[in-house]
């Protein structure tokens, strides 16, 4: 799925269509998570434990400090940019396939996030955001007391 993207961000047009189809299928399978800006960059994977989620993205060559991760209520936003390397005098591209530019993705979570406990790591070009559900919203188990 990670095909070379030539100039700018975004998938080739046929990928958009495939992504839309996949989005619809996934929405049917897992109605809790919706991605308002589906099919953008970076591509996301979402993992769930039932209560908490982990969102991962492949973002090679990013300066982590320049990555902006924000959660407001149940909306996660990931934004940042990747600069086009500047060429010096006398240098020339033979190939320019790697994407560059600004990006932003929004993910609607199936719950309100516990913003104080969100943790993010960036290793080997992979962003991993762990988002716990706010404790008071978690389903409570009701004990049945015997007589």
């Amino acid at each position: 799925m990670l095909r070379p993207i030539v100039r700018g961000l975004g998938w080739p047009p046929d990928m958009w269509r495939d992504m839309g189809r996949m989005q619809r299928e996934m929405n049917r399978l897992f109605p809790g998570i919706t991605l308002p800006s589906s099919g953008g960059y970076p591509a996301l994977n979402v993992w769930s434990s039932g209560d908490d989620v982990i969102v991962t993205a492949e973002l090679p060559g990013i300066t982590p400090e320049k990555l902006d991760i924000a959660v407001e209520g149940d909306m996660l936003s990931i934004s940042g940019s990747r600069a086009l390397p500047e060429l010096k005098e006398g240098e020339a591209y033979h190939r320019q396939e790697r994407s560059h530019g600004r990006f932003k993705r929004l993910v609607q979570l199936p719950f309100r996030a516990d913003t104080g406990k969100i943790a993010a790591t960036y290793e080997r070009g992979v962003l991993c955001i762990s988002i716990p559900r706010i404790e008071e919203d978690k389903p409570k188990k009701i004990e049945i007391r015997g007589e």
């Binding site: 591509a43 991962t56 090679p60 070009g125």
Partner: protein, 134 residues
Amino acid sequence: MADTMKELETKKEKRPMEPEWTRDRRVYIPPVDIVETQDTIELSADMSGVDETSVTITLEGDVLMITGSVEPATYEGYRLVYNEYDIGDYRRSFNLSDTIDHDSIEATVKNGVLRLRLPKAEPVKPKKITVKSG
């Protein structure tokens, strides 16, 4: 003349098939930037998930082969509920011309980006030829 053309086409068809991998896993072609500077060719490849232990660069004859292996991500107690990208290995090869000094290629990996520095061999560096007056 016509016979020569036919022969050329036939040879193209008989090109050997690419060997398969033993590992049954998706293989991606990493996107690359290649920049030529005065003394080097610099190659950058996006290979999310690889580090210096999982990327291999081989040079066999004139063929430079880049491979990277990535283990699928798993998170204890979590299951994948939404999937936009898949994880797999990376593989891409390039033909290097004689103009590259094959012995002094340098490679680094940082944040999932492989960078290769391919120095140009001495003889191909531009030489200024002085024209003497007769």
